[in-house]
Assembly symmetry: C2
Homo-oligomer: 403 residues x 2
């Protein structure tokens, strides 16, 4: 039966290129359900909500809302906030003060945890409220869903960027022989794996791909690089910022360099820096690294159309399901067809999503641990929303005649 009241929507954790498509989905679908009287935005997620930093999204213009899906990075602002017991008391006061009966929180597993606890709190207090989580993370490491909105676009960016960095390296390989492309991904290699989508042909860059699901093996790495460089066309290597050695330590220059700086700077030199030095010292080969950093997760121009559509779809589904009486669940994506590719929405318990992580599975990683498999390509290709723009490939195979 219909639950009359207002809805609050928030965005949490690292932004994505399509997180606002989910927000647009929530706003537009809410307007189709008469029991939802108002849709309020929590500014900077629960952090702002706790300070009653709330805005009535119904007052935004249609033009603004229509631009939202193609506007990257959390338009409501985001946060990383773990709620304390005191915070929960405060939240309940706010729910009552604004008659909040619907809770939509767009985020990853920390956000699922927050939503689950908010739902428990409301239930214990006898405050009827429907709590539905909306998946979002470029890391693609949420369990119970085929993939996460946000991933398709960061994957598209990295496919594009790696293809172009690869062309750059091919052109300059007599000068800068090795290119390291460092991608995001603290614990899971999904983003790094997506660089493989840069390839049109098997020999295309990236030539080597290293994921944090495999321990970084210095000697094997150097042998891989040497073998690739010896092919004489430059070598492009995609690496995850979260790569670790056998002791589980991140590959940062200071840990692995012989000298250590007296401040013990933790942030100095990441994986890219480290590998450039390693290759220079051990192989005597010049390398450079590109680290797009947060640009990769928020680059509007690289939005995947599939990703935009699905991000909107999960936002809409959250509202629809909540109005049906669903609570304490996160919306998931279920791949119902591979060719043609199509996903539908499903549901997973928030608590289970909160407590699970999904690394890249073994069947997506090559036996040598330096590439992905065809199965990964089949999985990921549809998510980037169509082929990359075509490029010219000169044949350069007809030598002119001497006169």
């Amino acid at each position: 039966m219909a639950l009359d009241g207002n809805a609050i929507v928030g965005q949490s954790g690292g932004p994505t290129a399509v997180i606002n498509a989910s927000l647009a989905g929530v706003i537009e679908e809410s307007e189709r359900h008469s029991e939802i009287k108002g849709v309020y935005g929590a500014i900077n997620g629960v952090e702002g909500l706790l300070q009653e930093n709330i805005a009535d999204l119904g007052s935004e213009s249609d033009d603004t809302i229509s631009l939202l899906p193609n506007t990257p990075s959390a338009a409501l602002g985001s946060c990383r906030k773990k709620l304390s017991g005191e915070d929960f008391v405060r939240l309940l006061q706010i729910f009552k003060a604004y008659n909040i009966r619907y809770w939509f929180y767009i985020g990853g597993n920390d956000s699922a945890d927050t939503s689950h606890k908010v739902g428990l709190l409301a239930e214990e207090a006898g405050w009827e409220m429907r709590v539905v989580g909306i998946p979002k993370t470029v890391d693609n490491d949420l369990a119970y869903t085929d993939h996460c909105p946000g991933y398709g676009s960061v994957a598209r960016f990295n496919a594009l960027a790696t293809r172009d960095a690869g062309r750059d390296t091919a052109a300059m390989h007599t000068v800068d022989t090795v290119k390291i492309v460092e991608t995001m991904g603290r614990n899971a290699g999904w983003i790094t794996a997506a660089t493989a989508l840069a390839r049109d042909e098997p020999a295309d860059p990236p030539h080597l791909i290293y994921l944090p699901e495999r321990v970084f093996d210095r000697e094997a790495f150097l042998a891989d690089v040497k073998r690739e460089v010896d092919k004489g066309r430059g070598c492009v290597i995609a690496v995850c910022e979260g790569l670790r050695d056998a002791e589980g330590e991140p590959l940062v220059s200071f840990k692995h360099a012989v000298g250590t700086d007296s401040f013990g700077h933790k942030q100095l030199g990441g994986v890219g820096d480290y590998l450039v030095s390693l290759i220079a010292e051990e192989l005597g080969i010049k390398a450079r690294f590109d680290k797009a950093g947060t640009i990769q997760r928020a680059f509007g121009l690289a939005q995947s159309e599939v990703d935009v559509a699905e991000a909107k779809m999960v936002g809409e589904a959250a509202v629809r399901r909540a109005c049906d009486g669903v609570s304490d669940k996160m919306i998931t994506l279920e791949r119902v067809s591979q060719d043609p590719y199509r996903c539908e929405t499903g549901l997973a318990p928030l608590e289970e999503v909160a407590n699970a992580e999904r690394p890249v599975p073994d069947e997506f990683i090559s036996a040598d641990g330096n590439d992905v498999t065809a199965a990964f390509i089949d999985y990921a290709r549809p998510l980037i929303g169509g082929p990359l723009p075509p490029y010219a490939r000169l044949q350069l195979n007809r030598a002119p005649k001497k006169t």
Copy 2:
């Protein structure tokens, strides 16, 4: 009078997103001049030419040539090669063997120097040859031209990336308060300056911009950052990889950290890394850095339409002028109208281009040295080929009523 023979075209130095548009211009314009019998491509510039690594470009398909302008990064391969006396002897043999009468070299000032010397050599040897340079450099530091093909696209990339990195920072400012965007530019700040084109409104990111035309002043920098952070909406700082301190030393972590590593790694930690550490230590504020590296110069999706058109135009002009009898010159761009923006081609002596550099002039840098001026924006805006795609701006200004 018409000089019958073959033309050679090469690409040199760092690639750009539009360097192949110049190549397409040379190929297509050559077909319109009956005195040019064949157009040959030098693979990896003079480095390949010296090994007779040459391809007849007339055998490439029309489809391939039509894709060239939108295909980033030197399709012929590039090089950084300073010619020796022996090399010149070899080149002359090759010119005679293949009846090369036209020389088109797409590059920056080192390439202008090469072309000039090749022209002198031919003249001294009594080998009639027309030598015309075609400007290309993302650094935009060539003299005698309004701007350089390649710059408009790297500028567009950095405007887009900084706008998106700025949205990311705005959303996450309670967690990651400062974002450093490190751009290319060894000696000139043109690329870094272009991040200012990210702004729709004056308070938009980037909030601070530092160019290598000004000495990096640690205390002034920290005061600037503190002031911006205190505004409570995150701080985005664009910096050039070529920033230097008062001693002319690059800002790398090892030089400026108290500890030094025993290998004396020169490549460890660039400007971004250094500033992240500096801000953490001196202000206790969390910062991150994005360094798109070579991605910025070769990102196809960020091509400026104006840049593509001009890159093609300078390639065509080189052939046309050479057929008119011009030699020992580089094609330049002359801005003949600002509104509507329009450039025509001109000519400059290769030797003068080779021996000049053009830093960002004083009138384009703010008095405080931490931003660009409106005059720079007027100069650079037309080069990026139209406005950035529009984004939603939520008003978030109507608080909901309590019940």
